[in-house]
Symmetry: none
Subunit: 248 residues, 2 copies
Amino acid sequence: MESATAPAIILVEPQLGENIGAAARAMLNCGLDDLRLVSPRDGWPSDTARSASAGADLVIDGARVFASLADAVADLSYILATTARVRDMVKPVLSVDRAMDEAWTRTRQGGRAGILFGRERSGLTNDEVSLSNAAVTFPVNPAFSSLNIAQAVLLMAWEWRKRTMAPPPDRVVSADSPPARQEDIHHLFRHFEDSLEEGGFFHPPEKRPHMERNLRNLLLRADLTEQDVRTLHGVIVSLTRLRARNRL
Amino acid sequence: MESATAPAIILVEPQLGENIGAAARAMLNCGLDDLRLVSPRDGWPSDTARSASAGADLVIDGARVFASLADAVADLSYILATTARVRDMVKPVLSVDRAMDEAWTRTRQGGRAGILFGRERSGLTNDEVSLSNAAVTFPVNPAFSSLNIAQAVLLMAWEWRKRTMAPPPDRVVSADSPPARQEDIHHLFRHFEDSLEEGGFFHPPEKRPHMERNLRNLLLRADLTEQDVRTLHGVIVSLTRLRARNRL
């Protein structure tokens, strides 16, 4: 099961139940379910947290409370400390991407990661950061860097989830009609270009190849389906109908 | 200035001021500041939104209200629609990474992106999605996928910020004309649809909305440049020319 190896989220002395609940919601959104609380100010369980979790009962019910950070991380092998800054310490400071790559690699080697989040106002102490393998800082707007705990949890959980998912296909088109074959697209080009020629579109004539290429490129960028090709034939017929009729 | 080219965030008929404020906070955290509201339920300005923004006054004060989605995206060139699913439409469905790569590439080519977020309960309508170049879905936990608006805004804004801080992805499209603005694309739609209406294309009439959506989706998939839009106006004029002339 995925969540058995997903990182644990450890909130150190969280003050507000709303934040614990919102963090639980963000975790479950991304498939994480191991929430650990170090000395939550208002005790545990918390109705406020449950309500703010918007249905993430699985995480709220499974949350565990610890008296010390050391106890909370005892079974984990790789600890990341989220912090705005690292002062007076020799400690690797990783980008979020790098940090989650490290966590992912270690998990695949049989380890288990945990991510520390500090108090709402004051973050983590130097002692707490010193219990981590690496610090992580968020490259947010320096002029407005007040990420709240749930936002920070969401970003870390999101980066984890992206790593657990198979790379998504580049481009998935939702269509009930199959992609058009080039033969049919070329036939459409001829219908289109012949009709434009009749309408005197290609002027001056020496620019015709360039103009045709532009139109073909435009249509090919649209990833036409078979239905699209039929539709566009109908469009051309419709637009030229009265013209043809008037010529008869 | 970075924010001059960062994507606009467009909330369509948001219901709760709390969500607008939390979205503004997430935006500013990641250096985005162009917030646009389409018909917010409880009016604007909103004290609730300001309070929930936790100091993101820059975004709240600069937020603009629009009566329609078309007005809200008029000056933008590349539109992403965040949605849980795309039904009955031929529309690229991109991963968040791919979507933000596309937005980033287009911005570097001189365009400007906008990201649509729907109503809290019901999301975006099909008509609204059909005005986008691509849909984006979040690969969240299928068993618990209730991302709220502010979380979704944060994830998109975060992915944007990561791109502004990192080596950019390969440049995909080489265009000598800048990306077309939505206002000009919508004007093209009207020219096109009026001409088709005259030509009797929309038959039976009750299928017109569906047929129009298909055509709009097709054109939006083509990533039209300003030159493309001029060309297509010329195409329509050319295809209908004799018709119009004979009517005079």
